[in-house]
């Protein structure tokens, strides 16, 4: 509360004083490093909650940071928040963009103002020179891993209900891409391909509609755990068995703890990991930049796995569940 405001006012004036001395000397006095973090709303999903927690735990005063957070699921509000951070004169802008497009000019402003930008979690559609680094998941790879796993199941036929995330998000594009390829090349049949917008309720309705229509299907490929959960609720209602050795294969993403438990219980078949813990990487990069080192790799891809219900262990659940 109030102590916070006091300290920020102090650093604010300090920043203007030292500004004339030049760029590198900022915060050289051992002051806190000011970071502005723009994230999606943490109650969007379990993934996001974990991600936000991770950021909060890392960028603390104890670790030498003064962090301001701005949350929004709307791209334009995020852009506005970024501009405000630029005016506030933060040292670093950490960004998980709601939309891939529309960021060029803000990032240019940041660059002009000597603010360094690090992307996390989501890539954006902008020139590489505009940011220092990006720590992201390779969504296409996640999708590919999942599709490869599905192929390895050697089903006699693949009739898939494909539940997509919000159209245009990096996660949706990556995870959809792999399945689209497989549908084109491996004869996978997409019974329906609909966006449920990460929303379990919508997923439930879409699957319900397919069940009502009586179209046969044997795979549910949901681009996150929430939607898989919604789909399963519809299956349960209609007496369609699912899970290991049952009628319908259920696949999800994100590795929520509860999802992995479903996996372990054999109710679901596959869950693809999407690693939300990027904070330590970012911390490392900032430390390097502060020491004047250069960053060797501009893009850091998070290490991610896929879990199979038949091989998952309790340890996996505990270690990887978020």
């Amino acid at each position: 509360g109030s102590s916070d405001a006091g300290s920020s006012a102090a650093t604010g004036s300090a920043a203007t004083d030292t500004a004339s001395a030049g760029a590198t000397s900022t915060d050289a006095s051992g002051d806190l490093i000011k970071v502005g973090i723009i994230n999606n709303d943490p109650n969007e999903s379990g993934y996001r909650t974990a991600n936000d927690k991770d950021m909060k735990n890392t960028f603390t005063e104890a670790n030498g940071y003064e962090a301001s957070f701005a949350y929004s699921l709307k791209n334009d509000e995020q852009i506005t928040a970024a501009q405000k951070f630029i005016q506030d004169g933060v040292d670093y802008l950490l960004l998980s963009a709601a939309d891939t497009a529309g960021w060029d000019s803000v990032l240019k402003d940041a660059q002009d103002a000597g603010i360094r930008v690090i992307l996390f979690d989501r890539t954006i559609d902008a020139d590489e020179s505009l940011y220092e680094a990006s720590i992201v998941s390779d969504m296409a790879k996640e999708g590919q891993t999942a599709v490869d796993w599905l192929k390895s199941q050697n089903l006699s036929e693949y009739n898939i209900i494909h539940l997509q995330g919000v159209m245009g998000s990096a996660a949706q594009q990556g995870r959809t891409g792999a399945l689209d390829d497989a549908a084109a090349n491996d004869g996978f049949n997409l019974v329906t391909q609909q966006t449920a917008e990460w929303n379990a309720e919508k997923a439930q309705q879409i699957v319900q509609s397919v069940i009502d229509a009586g179209t046969p299907f044997n795979v549910i490929y949901a681009e996150n755990d929430d939607m898989a959960k919604g789909a399963v609720a519809a299956l349960d209602k209609a007496n369609i068995s699912h899970g290991v050795g049952k009628d319908v294969i259920v696949m999800g993403f994100d590795c929520n703890k509860w999802a992995l438990e479903e996996l372990k219980a054999g109710n679901w078949n596959y869950d693809g990991q999407c690693n939300p813990f990027q904070a330590s990487y970012i911390d490392e990069i900032i430390k390097k930049l502060e020491n004047g080192e250069t960053i060797s790799e501009k893009t850091i891809i998070m290490d991610e796995k896929g879990f199979d219900a038949t091989t998952i262990t309790q340890e996996d659940v505990d270690n990887y569940g978020i």
Binding site: Y71, Q83, G89, V166, G168, Q173
Partner: protein
Amino acid sequence: MGKKLKNMTDTNLLLTITIVVFFAMYIGAIVFQGKGFLKPQTFFNILNANAALIILSCGMSLVMITGGIDISVGGVVALVSMSCAVYLDFGGGNVFISMLIAVAIGLAFGIVQGFLVAYLDIQPFIVTLAGMFFARGMTTIVNTKPFNVANENFTALKETRVFVPGMGSVNKLGNYVNAYVEIGVIVALMVVIVMFVMLRWTKMGRSFYAVGGNNQSALMLGINVKRTKFLSHLLCGLLAGIGGYVYFLHVGSGSASHATGMEMNAIASSIIGGTMLTGGVGNIIGTFFGVLSLSTIQNIVSSAGLDQAWWTGITIAAMLCLFLVVQSVVIARKKKMLQK
């Protein structure tokens, strides 16, 4: 003071409240948060980010003054952005024609909705709700994926900055940066002026108020009520088209998720600026300050460094609540005084 209050029309009273509260809030932000709020560019960024909203809110106020509502404007913005983006990158790529497309889309919505509301007497809420659904759906039909526009002429226009003479600040690197606004802001200010003059000084403008005040009376006073309602929706649609292009110019991309909930912001801004949903009362200058107030609230909250995400929503709502309650209390006092 009391006497002055008594003699003020509702419209002017509400306008005064808005302006006073806005300045109080901004000065409060400077005092308590310092930092960026001292820099002129912070203010101009609020303008830059909200140029489109200002234009939309002008249209919204107009419809609300006539006693209607238009919740399709956010959807129209998304549709305009996406259509123009697709046209610029995959179609002809002529910037001028893309502007025409924007205006045409806005007008089309305005005309159809205006016709349904005015001549078929369907409730504006339903018509424009359907309009919103339609625009949102069409946007994904035009193109599902968001993408940045690469067209060079467009990017040049988008990057154009109008420097504000005599204003600026020293940035982190120690360079003096002149404060600037984007082209959209100029357009928005022009819209505000034109709309203000239209509503305040022309016969047409006053007939919007008359229809909103009491459309039965307006009819008997010899005003063409249907045409007036139609015009209000038409203009609102047109402004949504223009606002859509300004928004597009600001973000430079097309996306189905653009401008989600923008209609609510436009309605809120209009009301904060003293426009009544019940019609007949309102002022464009108020609307302008309504937009600024709303976005200043958001700005204050976003730079306050709240430690939990949920505080953002709750704080914005609390400030909005405070604002509305103050407004309502002042109006109630005025009513009391009038009775005496």
